[in-house]
């Protein structure tokens, strides 16, 4: 499915490592299976040749890794960024979370990543190997000698179905062609929920959020969540435990998690990707983005370095909090 191959990336990374431009490479390494690709730091060309992978499951957004890694590295660090990752990269730069001089960005084209839970929904469990074959994906399972062939478009991750941009907004070097910002329908699902009655929405979110196991993966993977001290790490906060499914605790966690990145969220979709319970967390973030766009004008976090986020800004003409609902009544 991807236009760029693993070998192209390895040769580019090896070249930059050998000529001393960079001292290490932040890339994707093989996990236990073909579909659990793990972010890995490669220090030598041998490590790259042996361990580097690039396939349809390289969803991880590396921007956040730069916060800790760029400070530790002596030289430059090479990072491979897909278009949506570059928005997070710019947002972190805006917040002065790492030194731009210590990073060498290679922009790589992305044709959309696959979601393994969608693959499993079609092929079942027991996946031994997955390989890409043009527009199709071949899946070999324990239970069948012949690979199951599925259309790559059918298993595209939710965030890639509604891809907002194939344009790299930050790079030192670009592999492939410059892409463009895409008109996506990413707010359709939010609008569908908004059109429901309050009781239906409550039931929907109760159902979704009660599955939360409080693993904090959404927080840990989010490139906007880079506070060194997190409000949820406070043992006195009373939120470290799992609460009964019918209680409010999971909503408190998720409202605050989404709220803390409101206006800074680039809608990269990492929260939903890493969620082991498949909770559609991006719908919370998108609600904030949609609201901010409607209330204060269109804003895409990370589009440029140095933009001022809407919630740390104001005008004297802003709408009153009570008017938010009047607006909703008009739309309904």
């Amino acid at each position: 499915m991807q236009k760029i191959t693993r070998d192209q990336l390895v040769s580019k990374a090896s070249e930059l490592l050998s000529n001393g431009t960079v001292c290490c490479v932040l890339g994707w390494g093989m996990g236990e299976f073909d579909y659990d690709v793990t972010p890995t730091v490669f220090n030598t060309v041998e490590e790259l040749n042996n361990g580097f992978v690039f396939n349809d499951f390289c969803g991880a957004n590396f921007s956040k890794y730069l916060v800790s890694k760029a400070a530790k590295c002596d030289g430059k660090i090479l990072v491979l960024l897909k278009p949506c990752d570059t928005y997070s990269f710019n947002q972190l730069l805006t917040e002065h979370r790492f030194d731009r001089e210590k990073v060498y960005v290679v922009g790589i084209p992305c044709e959309g990543m696959a979601d393994v839970s969608k693959v499993k929904a079609i092929c079942g469990e027991g996946i031994l190997a997955i390989s890409s074959n043009g527009d199709n994906i071949n899946v070999t399972t324990l239970y069948d000698e012949n690979p199951i062939v599925i259309n790559a478009a059918d298993v595209l991750a939710e965030r890639c179905v509604n891809c907002k941009s194939k344009k790299h907004v930050a790079y030192d070097e670009l592999l492939g062609d410059e892409g463009e910002v895409i008109e996506s329908n990413r707010f359709d699902e939010v609008a569908r929920l908004e059109a429901m009655s309050a009781d239906e929405r409550f039931a929907f979110w109760q159902n979704e959020l009660s599955r939360c196991i409080r693993c904090n993966a959404c927080r840990d993977a989010c490139p906007a969540c880079t506070c060194e001290k997190c409000v949820f790490d406070n043992p006195n906060s009373g939120v470290e435990n799992k609460s009964p499914a019918n209680s409010f605790e999971e909503k408190l966690f998720h409202i605050i998690r989404a709220y803390h990145v409101a206006g800074r969220c680039t809608d990269c979709g990492e929260c939903s990707r890493v969620c082991p319970q498949n909770i559609p967390l991006h719908l919370l973030n998108r609600k904030f983005i949609k609201d901010i766009n409607e209330f204060y004008g269109d804003y895409q976090a990370g589009e440029e370095v140095g933009m001022r986020a809407p919630l740390v800004n104001y005008t004297t003409e802003d709408l009153e909090p009570g008017e938010v609902f009047d607006r909703g009544a008009d739309n309904a």
Binding site: F248, K287, V324
Partner: protein, 144 residues
């Protein structure tokens, strides 16, 4: 046997410079407002973290109201403008999660508006009482 009438518990975050003084004025003028309104004084309405509001609900509040200086009159110049944006985003999110939107409110009350303070609290208490007990936001672990 006495039948207890349901009385909502309301938390009011009042800014030190305008609304808290407004509440004081309401008291001085002997204007009645429900005793179920518990006032928490904050230095500025923008001191109110969204977590405060959710925590109040979790621990049994039935309604939360935030009072600050009128836009343009903030003691710290611009605090209430930030409050306005933050609360617009938060209230919209609470509504999105299916929580009754009448339980939260922001009102601008100046130090000279004792009557407005009392009227606002009476009105808000009535609205919240008509909604009944807060079931959707409470947390059994936090309640005594």
């Amino acid at each position: 046997m006495q039948v207890n009438e349901y009385k909502p518990l309301i938390v009011a975050f009042c800014c030190n410079w305008c609304s808290y003084a407004g509440a004081d004025l309401a008291g001085n003028n002997r204007l009645a407002y429900p005793a179920d309104v518990k006032i928490i004084r904050v230095p500025c309405s923008c001191r109110v973290n969204p977590m405060f509001i959710l925590r109040a609900f979790q621990r049994g509040a039935d309604g939360v109201i935030i009072c600050g200086c009128h836009p343009g009159d903030c003691h710290y110049t611009s605090g209430n403008y930030y409050t306005r944006r933050r609360m617009a985003a938060l209230f919209s999110m609470l509504d999105y999660l299916g929580i009754e939107k009448e339980r939260t409110r922001v009102e601008w009350v100046s130090a000279a508006e004792g009557a407005k303070f009392a009227a606002t609290m009476n009105d808000f208490a009535k609205t919240v009482a008509s909604l009944g007990e807060n079931k959707r936001l409470e947390d059994l672990r936090c309640k005594k």
